[in-house]
């Protein structure tokens, strides 16, 4: 279960310094920042810009281009439901609607006790066992209503 650290400029600086001399360092830095803080904090952008000799605008463009990078930390757990064609063929739209109503959120939202963030994902590469989902980094396939309900219960626990 991910526990995120509060913003700490020194900690961010360490992460940036560790990667800054790698070729194309931006994505590895952004991933690590997000792993530590749960998101890419706005305050990290000027630090990165300075270290990588880029403008803040350029970096802002990069961060916002990618679906993965968040502005705010997610709930304690992240439940991703696959919404792509293979899972659609096995009824994922109905499962997604069920998850939204059970958690009381729309895709991309976090429930009120902040235990779960629900997200759509376009393919987990488990199309042989559709419908598929991922809870944090654990994968689940051959979902049906009962399995989805158990997954949601586990996520909220």
């Amino acid at each position: 279960m991910p526990r995120y650290e509060p913003w700490n400029a020194e900690r961010a600086g360490e992460i940036i310094a560790r990667h800054q001399h790698e070729e194309g360092a931006a994505l590895p830095i952004l991933h690590e920042l997000q792993a530590v803080f749960g998101c890419v904090p706005e305050a990290a952008i000027p630090l990165m810009a300075e270290a990588l000799n880029l403008s803040r605008a350029e970096l802002h463009g990069t961060v916002t281009f990618y679906h993965d990078f968040r502005k705010e930390p997610p709930g304690r757990r992240v439940l991703k439901l696959c919404r792509a064609e293979s899972c659609q063929a096995m009824g994922s739209d109905a499962l997604a609607a069920r998850a939204e109503s059970k958690l009381g959120v729309e895709m991309g939202g976090t429930n009120t006790d902040r235990s779960v963030t629900l997200e759509a994902v376009y393919c987990l590469g488990l199309c042989h066992s559709s419908p598929a989902a991922m809870l944090d980094k654990h994968v689940f396939g051959m979902l049906d209503e009962a399995k989805l309900d158990r997954l949601i219960d586990e996520a909220q626990r």
Binding site: D68, G125, M134, K137, M142
Partner: protein, 519 residues
């Protein structure tokens, strides 16, 4: 003497409970005082049988599946470890028709070897291709790959050897090998299977590419949706480095080559090669205009070979068994084998590697066994979100790059997604446009704006608003996107849209053209 069983750690097995099954076996073994060795392999690709347990026997590996943790006690009591019969018994795994009828070249070790063991890979013929490349040298290696007829398995089908030759011909300087492992197409999982099940074959393929073109460094760009593949590749790269197969003077030769994993960040368009290069450079994944080709001006402006996982993973067998051997499989200009992925609403979902030329119908009905829901197959989408929908009338189409092009489709990365007769094809067409709108990098207008207009048009057509006129506009829009977009995202989105409209007009509230023609 210990008894050895094999259970996959491929995420396709993990997603249906393989980890709990391993725990169950350990518990029962401890309770019964059995000396049980559990080897974690990749997957054989018969996912409807996962979690599959294989028992090592003198006659071969005997399979049982799908096995639930609650079955373990009963299985062991029934003599499973001696290969005895049981309701879950599948007999010799290699004799299961789905497996036996394949031609496994790229996937020959997948599901068999321990993906974390360099020794096991070598024991199964690994690194023979590299040895050959070192022996014959860069030029002959490039020519072997050209002669094999291998074409890019990522989707475009461009001859792999020609890309290599172009990079090899550039003056000596920093060059790169980039493996495109941004397998984002729905219905595909072959790259994931290789990385999780036989990562060394990819490392070997990339190393051979490095030697062939004079590149000493490589990147595998893996999508973030594949955490298990990222882990498997990182472990294998570290193993290979420790075993002298990456780094300085690899395998005692005069060549240096090393590589690392880079993780994407959820952008589908980064599967497009120039967008992927931008992303590797740490920028927005915006598509580059070509020319210049990546072979001349690629990663960080240097000459770069960028190939798909399956293309690179096919290289070791081409080198070890010869270009002629590989070329003998297939039809027309589609040489060798294609790892085909059966997905969606299908009874036997999984990976089926076979020579080009097999028909779509044979794949869906005979091998795939029809739908999992038991209803009629109505449409299949081949080649991912940018691939065309095929009706049953086109099931005689052979799996071949040119035949699919002639049928207004593409084989793409070889994924086949099956839909039963409950599918609404207008909804699927709308989704294709919507997906393009979400994933467009925004660089070119036909893709960025056209996709949003496309969603609106499908909505209007379905609502019956000026239907005839809007159908003409939709067709025109698709034409503009196809010819005016910079890359395949905008350029190929018209395939699912137009094929849905052409073959299933009744779902759009339009007249059924096929019937009119027959009358």
């Amino acid at each position: 003497m210990s008894i050895r069983i094999y259970i996959s750690r491929d995420s396709g097995a993990l997603c249906v409970g393989a980890e709990d099954l391993v725990t169950a076996f350990r518990k029962v073994a401890e309770k019964r005082g059995l000396d049980l060795e559990i080897v974690r392999t990749g997957s054989r690709g018969m996912y409807w049988l996962e979690p599959l347990v294989e028992v090592a026997r003198p006659e071969g590996r005997i399979g049982y599946g799908p096995v639930k943790p609650s079955d373990v006690e009963e299985l062991i009591a029934a003599g499973m470890l001696d290969g005895k019969a049981h309701r879950l018994s599948l007999g010799l795994v290699e004799d299961i028709p789905f497996f036996k009828n394949q031609t496994r070249l790229t996937f020959k070790n997948c599901g068999i070897v321990d993906p974390r063991s360099l020794e096991d890979y070598k024991a199964h013929g690994g690194y023979k291709g590299l040895a050959k490349a070192i022996e014959i040298g860069p030029e002959a290696t490039v020519e072997d790959v050209v002669n094999s007829g291998l074409r890019g398995r990522g989707g475009a089908g461009f001859p792999t050897g020609i890309k290599w030759r172009t990079v090899a011909a550039t003056p000596p300087q920093q060059k790169y090998i980039v493996c495109n492992a941004d397998e984002g197409d729905s219905g595909t999982f072959a790259d994931r299977m290789i990385m999780e099940g036989d990562p060394f074959v990819l490392i070997e393929g990339m190393t051979i590419a490095g030697i062939a073109v004079g590149a000493n460094y490589g990147y595998v760009y893996i999508r973030s949706e594949y955490p298990d593949a990222v882990e498997a590749m990182e472990i294998a790269i570290a193993e290979a480095r420790a075993g002298g197969m990456l780094g300085k003077r690899i395998a005692g030769s005069k060549y240096d080559y090393d590589m690392e994993v880079r993780v994407g960040a959820g952008a589908y368009v980064c599967g497009e090669e120039t967008s992927l290069l931008e992303s590797l450079e740490g920028k927005r994944g915006e598509v580059r205009a070509k020319p210049p080709l990546p072979a001349h001006v690629g990663l960080f402006g240097k000459p770069t070979v960028i190939n798909n996982v399956l293309s690179l993973a096919s290289v070791p067998i081409i080198m070890s068994d010869g270009a002629e051997f590989y070329k003998n499989f297939g039809m027309g200009r589609s040489r060798g084998t294609m790892p085909i992925q059966l997905a969606g609403n299908i009874k036997h979902g999984g990976l089926y590697e076979t020579a080009f030329g097999i028909t779509l119908g044979a794949l869906v009905d005979d091998i795939g066994g029809g739908t999992r829901t038991g209803r009629k197959v109505r449409a299949v989408q081949v080649g991912g979100p940018l691939g065309a929908y095929f009706p049953r009338e086109l099931f005689e189409t052979p799996f071949d790059y040119e035949a699919f092009t002639a049928a207004d489709g593409l084989i793409g990365h070889g994924g086949i997604v099956v839909f039963d007769d409950s599918v609404d094809m207008a909804k699927q067409a709308r989704f294709a446009m919507e997906f393009c709108a979400i994933e467009s990098c925004g660089k070119c207008t036909p893709c960025r704006i056209g996709s949003t207009r496309g969603v609106e048009l499908v909505d209007k057509i379905v609502a019956g608003e000026d239907r005839e006129a809007n159908l003409v506009v939709l067709e025109d829009l698709c034409h503009t996107m196809k010819l005016g977009s910079l890359c395949a995202l905008g350029g190929f989105t018209p395939y699912p849209v137009m094929s849905a409209l052409t073959h299933f007009p009744e779902d759009f509230g339009a007249k059924k053209k096929r019937l009119e023609a027959a009358e």
